[in-house]
């Protein structure tokens, strides 16, 4: 913990450190991350798709110079996929080999390290240090209630019991970051234990700065034009307003095509990298692409 505090002595130093690894956070997010590290409490990040929830966890791991363990949640995920699994084919093979070689085989031989498949949660708990791993539980709302309860228990105790091996206690309990797209309400018990932060769309200047970091070689006027156009697009009544991830893709596409100034023709060619619904594209076209990309 002291090591962590030395690395990030405050909110502002953390923000600058994130900046140095090309993640531009605002004060709100930096405070949330700093509290998550300092208070050793899980942090629940919510926000529209493409505002950089997952990237925040990656950047934090980079700043703390530690391992990032990512658990992507999906419907029906269970302990065998999240925690650990025995390598059954290998165990069978082990039995056969022992028989063929006439060797004596004990239970412990089959249920040992060599036959254990480590899944993300176990990996995060067994991370040797010196600093705790960053455990990213991505899109936790996709998993079901039962898994949420299981996760809660595991995170609270930072221990897990494997019947054949015994109890694993985390030497360095992982720093947990959960993200959610709000497809369903998370359980209050989980929310109560977490710090919470809603990541908003970045301001125009911040968006320009982020895109310029992410797309090396992009020229400032082009990025500014694109960011302004995206801000105007968001004001339209779109089904999926473009996030910062789409802006980055858009500028990268424009760069690839050798576009130097964004005009209606260039926007029309590359509209597919920023608007992913036909209705949205039609709405943008009927609003007038020239007006959207103009200065």
């Amino acid at each position: 913990m002291t090591d962590l505090r030395q690395r990030v002595p405050g909110v502002e130093p953390l923000r600058l450190a994130l900046d140095a690894v090309d993640y531009l956070a605002d004060t709100g997010l930096a405070t949330a991350l700093y509290c998550a590290v300092g208070l050793a409490q899980p942090l629940l990040l919510e926000g529209e798709a493409g505002v950089g929830k997952t990237e925040a966890a990656k950047a934090l791991a980079q700043v703390l110079d530690t391992r990032l363990v990512r658990l992507q949640c999906y419907e029906g995920i269970d302990a065998a996929e999240a925690l650990y699994e025995w390598n059954y084919p290998r165990q069978l093979l082990g039995i056969r080999l022992a028989e063929a070689g006439g060797a004596a085989l004990r239970d412990e031989d089959l249920f040992g390290e060599a036959y254990l498949i480590e899944r993300p949660l176990l990996a995060a708990l067994r991370h040797p240090g010196p600093r705790p791993a960053v455990l990213l539980v991505d899109e936790v709302d996709r998993a079901d209630d039962e898994f949420e309860a299981f996760l809660l228990e595991l995170l609270g105790e930072a221990t897990v019991t494997i019947p054949e091996l015994g109890t694993v206690r985390a030497a360095h309990p992982p720093l947990v970051i959960l993200t959610s797209n709000r497809t369903r309400d998370l359980h209050d018990a989980l929310k109560r234990r977490c710090l919470y932060h809603w990541i908003d769309y970045p301001s125009l200047e911040r968006a320009v700065a982020i895109v310029r970091r992410r797309v090396p070689g992009s020229t400032r006027p082009l990025v500014e034009q694109a960011a302004r156009a995206v801000a105007r697009l968001r004001a339209l009544d779109l089904q999926k307003p473009p996030g910062i991830a789409e802006t980055i893709n858009w500028v990268a596409a424009l760069e690839l095509l050798g576009v130097e100034t964004l005009d209606a023709a260039a926007a029309e060619r590359t509209l597919g990298s920023i608007l992913k619904y036909r209705e949205d594209q039609e709405l943008a076209a009927s609003t007038g692409l020239a007006a959207l990309v103009g200065d």
Binding site: T27, G28, A32, Y34, G38, E75, Y88, R184, L195
Partner: protein
């Protein structure tokens, strides 16, 4: 500010204030807030703001109430929220309150005449086999039997409450889909290595019998979109009760709308239906106001449906289709909904009336995108709703395509 005793008192008082504003702040959370202030050595108001928000708020909907309470207690107008977002762009509508603006030509349009509303989708004539014959409702006492055929509009609250048991029995079956979880099955598609190996201990570590698993069917999510405008009021009570029954047995989500959309699922998890109904009434302030179906559907799809709530779900829309706004918007949003959902069933109590034709503007626009249109005006008719929701599960000819 960072002195222990004062900070504790401050955190406690502020927590109490937030509780008054409807944000559930436990003493534990207030303690976390105090620790965060100490940790970050918050000295300026924005720093304090973020410390408090990160630790005391746990959902986006609470942010507005939190902001009000925070600035009321700590004063000053240096609102850091104002610094976020793009100052050049017009403000996004606050997600928790009003639905998005109507279509550009949002002027009210008179209900369309007998236009060719039903084209490719549902044809309202004669698509309801057995809509005239009595439908058997399981497990009714004689008194309830008498109530079962009465129109919901004629029942008082107490009589409605007596029909609860029958209502929960109706919603046993929504269509199923294959989940990602598996269970042991004799003719499963993949091998259960764990169980096979365990079984092999009985036969000297020889895996003689192969055990298999297959994916387990799960009921699809049921989503109820309930019109609570004035014309629908008697039915709204009945369907809220149905939703309450469903929310306790299966995965169901409920929304009400008249002029704005309100999510009710959390409220309906409470113990008694009467309490749940009362809370739902308080949460939806436009109870018995006018109707704006199109914007409500749009708000539902933008905020919840698109993110995954409506994917593969069974959607039940309860409304008489009297749209005050533009029916074209209803049509466009219903098309979106039909693309997302597994099945869309529209319940219109007016359908029970003699000589009903789906000519109300919103209804005519929505009809091509519905899998079934049923009346659902009484408990017996509700059995028909259950059949329309799960045509494969119920006996008899399936309504709709």
């Amino acid at each position: 500010m960072t002195e222990g005793a004062d900070l504790a008192a401050l955190a406690g008082h502020f927590g109490a204030r937030l509780r008054g504003a409807g944000i559930a702040v436990t003493p534990e959370r207030a303690g976390t807030f105090a620790r965060a202030v100490l940790l970050t050595e918050a000295a300026t108001l924005p720093e304090l703001y973020w410390c408090a928000r990160v630790t005391l708020v746990s959902r986006l909907e609470e942010v507005a109430a939190f902001d009000t309470a925070f600035w009321a207690v700590f004063g000053g107008r240096a609102d850091p929220v104002g610094e976020r977002g793009d100052p050049n762009a017009p403000a996004l509508p606050p997600p928790a309150t009003a639905p998005r603006a109507t279509a550009a030509n949002g002027a009210p349009v008179p209900p369309a005449g007998p236009a060719g509303g039903a084209r490719h989708g549902l044809d309202w004539t004669g698509q309801q086999p057995g809509s005239g014959r009595a439908v058997a409702v399981p497990g009714l006492a004689s008194d309830e039997e008498r109530l079962a055929s009465r129109d919901f509009a004629e029942l008082d609250r107490e009589q409605l409450a007596r029909l609860r048991g029958a209502m929960s029995a109706l919603l046993r079956a929504t269509p199923t889909r294959l989940s990602r979880r598996t269970r042991r099955h004799r003719r499963g598609s993949h091998l259960d290595l764990r169980a096979t190996l365990r079984r092999s201990r009985r036969s000297g570590a020889d895996p003689v019998r192969r055990l298999r698993r297959r994916r387990r069917p799960r009921p699809r999510r049921l989503i109820l979109l309930l019109d609570i405008s004035g014309s629908m009021e008697p039915y709204a009570q009945a369907y809220l009760q149905l939703l309450h029954c469903a929310a306790r047995t299966s995965r169901a989500e409920g929304f009400t709308f008249a002029t704005r959309l309100t999510r009710l699922t959390r409220l309906l998890r409470s113990a008694t239906p009467a309490a749940a109904l009362e809370r739902a009434g308080r949460a939806a302030p436009d109870w018995s106001g006018g109707t704006r179906i199109g914007p409500a559907l749009q708000a539902f799809l933008d905020r919840y449906g698109r993110r995954g709530l409506a994917h593969g779900a069974v959607v039940l829309v309860v409304s008489d289709g009297w749209e005050r706004g533009d029916p074209a918007l209803v049509g466009a949003q219903m098309a979106r909904l039909a693309r997302l959902a597994h099945r869309v069933v529209w319940v219109n109590p007016r359908k029970a009336a003699e000589g009903f034709q789906p000519l109300a503007g919103g209804m005519a626009a929505a009809l091509p995108y519905c899998d079934a249109l049923v009346s659902g005006h009484s408990l017996e008719a509700m059995a028909e709703v259950a059949r329309a929701l799960a045509p494969d599960c119920a006996a008899g000819p399936a309504p709709g395509p």
